[in-house]
Symmetry: D2
């Protein structure tokens, strides 16, 4: 895949912002592959993402960063430049449900998700068989016979060891403790099996069945200390009816979960998501 640099910015809105950025890019001969802008007029805030062909730029990545820094400062920007060839390390956390885990693994294996997967961590040992096939190191962490705090300390140590850039909770089903949520802020993605804010918490399909809704869904969001309350990246829904049993709902829901999670992760890996307060701008 061609190498691109991604310049992602959010800052207070003001006149001259786009001109300054695009003049900078033009001055350095950057060919723009994709440019996305969003002005939130309620907040007076501006969001921007440029993807540029690396080989057209007459600057190295490092020099690009240092050359852009003064502009960024003058407009009070939150910003980053990332290199598409520097693959992010994505750690996968799983439990006993395999559908999301395998879906992510297959998309990665077939080249659809452009990242490295340094490890799979699960609280059920049978996930090892999938890890082995994909030749990804597997770690079982016992959440049953030891204190959860101890188990999460082991998870955290593994994430540190593998230097995970992103942690994906592929139906992990354990409530992440506050301190770890804070450490992973903006770098941990969860899939919840309902169209939030409906049916937060445990057993969303049962809740949906009990309420008699005609649609079920899934929500991909960043992990925060408030359970199922983090910034939403992507949601999917599917129609159900009275004739759908609990098993049918689970089956249909899995399809939503896989799609929402895969899209959310891809958007994140391509630096298409900007978190602002408790919401996201997604340049899909």
């Amino acid at each position: 895949m061609q190498q691109t640099f991604r310049l992602v910015i959010d800052c207070p809105d003001q006149v001259g912002l786009v001109a300054a950025v695009s003049q900078f890019l033009a001055d350095n001969q950057a060919t723009i592959v994709e440019a996305s802008h969003h002005t939130d007029s309620q907040l007076g805030r501006f969001f921007m993402r440029h993807e540029i062909k690396a080989d057209t730029l007459n600057l190295s990545l490092e020099n690009l960063r240092s050359a852009f820094a003064p502009i960024a400062e003058s407009f009070s920007m939150n910003w980053k430049v990332s290199d598409s060839h520097q693959k992010q390390k994505v750690a996968l956390l799983a439990s006993h449900e395999s559908h999301c885990l395998i879906d992510i693994l297959h998309r990665w294996h077939s080249g659809e998700l452009d990242c490295d997967i340094p490890c799979i961590i699960a609280n059920h040992p049978q996930m090892k068989q999938f890890a082995d096939w994909y030749k990804v190191p597997f770690h079982w962490v016992d959440f049953k016979n030891q204190d959860k705090a101890v188990a999460f300390a082991q998870v955290e140590a593994l994430l540190d060891e593998y230097q995970a850039d992103l942690t994906v909770l592929a139906r992990f089903m354990q409530i992440v403790p506050d301190n770890l949520c804070q450490k992973l802020a903006g770098k941990a993605i969860n899939i919840h099996h309902s169209f939030l804010p409906s049916f937060a918490g445990a057993k969303p399909y049962q809740q949906a069945y009990d309420r008699g809704v005609k649609l079920i869904g899934a929500t991909c969001h960043y992990v925060t200390k408030d359970l199922d309350e983090g910034p939403i990246i992507e949601q999917e829904v599917i129609r159900i009816s009275h004739s759908d049993s609990a098993a049918d709902m689970v089956r249909k829901g899995k399809s939503c979960e896989k799609t929402a999670l895969a899209n959310g992760v891809r958007y994140h890996l391509q630096d298409r998501v900007i978190i602002h307060k408790n919401k996201t701008v997604v340049f899909a």
Copy 2:
């Protein structure tokens, strides 16, 4: 349109039920246009709807009812037989938003909704212009300068006077008092502008905006005394993104509202909905 009779049943599930009903229909020469069955195995309950060609039956409607009564009794059925040529009287309640009102009126006027519309009742007088065009009696009820209980008493008197079989709250935006909810149980349909149970109550689009969801929707449900908690008939959703302003969300949401309400009302008018506890079976 050809005349049909609709036999709608729910009862405890047991062997021989379908045989008894279909033997009864066959004995009376009924040609079945449409037959729908549902067994709720968790509840052990059976739901059934038959639509039969009236002119193939060798019984009048009245005789059909009396002939079927013993079967119904022996299986402890809730049941009814309705005649497609006996149009239901549908009273429309509206406020200042016209999109749902007009959508229902146009579907009725063009023959898509097979019913009579004896009156439109609104708490904003400007709805009269639409009523006039469609030649439907219009009643303005003042909810601003008089007590709400008094206003609702006027609404109730009008529903009684026009002998409404069904009351449709086409974005009526007033909380119906408990006693009227109970009187209209199973005979009043509301459209709520969110995918319930998310964003019940006031200003659902603002709630959706604040939460940063990626889908908004609408829910058509029976009115009960617990606000936005009644049995759901139909739901619609539509995708939104960060670039959708509040106005965009309202526009997209209106489309969901119209579709969900029109479908819900049509299902009800065609006796396709069976309410059981707080859920519905919808033989769509």
Copy 3:
């Protein structure tokens, strides 16, 4: 609604393009409400739309145009600047089906579609009732008792007389002659009741029924001399099953038709559509 100017551009892709445009806007103090870019790397072509707050600009519309012309020329741009307060005149053509006509009229009447509607032209006189209510001049053109070329000459004369900027064929059901298609190129929008390219031509619902598809749809496209082959602006689909009768398909299809047409017209009116060869870029 706040006044905006919309600068819409397409041209060969090259470095410095965005910088030149955004520098121009910044130099003239323009606050950008919305900016959209698209590079078609296969074609080497660039598409761009800016919507700017009129009152922040230190130029009149006329001066904006003359000031921008040299930049446009240097980059070989197709371009235009439009003023949101200069309402486009939209002539509606209809036949005997009213659903699309009324939908457009209601969206216009309620302020969702920001345009003028100077006239409705139909080949069935009963559409007059709707025109009257909305106080829009109505013209019946007889397509039955006179030659079609004569009838179309009358339509053309009316479009000229009312100085229509856009002509919307709201299920007009007559094949527009080549010369008129050419005259209206990029300024006439049709709704076809199938998901093109499936089921072009006559009776698409019957074709869909005969083929046994599980989805039906509608396509909003620009009119060209090749029937149902023009650039597509928007498409909608809806699920059907074996249990949907021809009447059900028509009913469901109408919902797709209304939505696709309304969206397509709105995109056009807001200068969100750029036609290039036989395709569109839609900055939705």
Copy 4:
């Protein structure tokens, strides 16, 4: 999973049909899990599927068949009774694209698809790695260095050897010869990567890109000798825009392909599909 028998019938419509079948079931104490009916009034044909709890029936499967035969004959029924515990053997044909193959394998492995998979046949050897993990016998058939007729003779011999009840072409990408199509009539399912009848034949995504459609899709259908013309079981679509590259379209399309194929196969395995002429009734 509980054992059920499925009685699937289609025949000319006539009064007394349902009564005869349901009386037969009641007389033999069958508890009905699910009953579906459809009358095609244009064709005067009736379609019916019953799923009954095997252990409530006072007849063996064999006796059920012989007891029902006279009823079937008297109503000129096409019919079958199948046993949910007699797993169908599903042979998978694949080429070099793995997404549909793996999706089917994972759904089978996780218990969602209730069948046996006796073999995978592919014209690219690298599919063996997946077959190995799932412990399914793998056969590579060379379509490149030998005549296609010879290659297909090898495929046919393998299908015979493994006694395949159903053959699934999981993006097999080879045109099946007429004689094999006829032999597999109603027992071979293909996934085509467009919403048929749009873009039949080769390179549908390229065709879609060239036409500029705003939706792409996938179609699951029975294989017939007329390429991409067989009875459709299921279709899926997804929205695209000008900003979707060819690679994006492939990615989005794959999601449709997997869902449509998995649903189509599941419906077939559960005897929910009745083929009549070139269309299907699907009791989903």
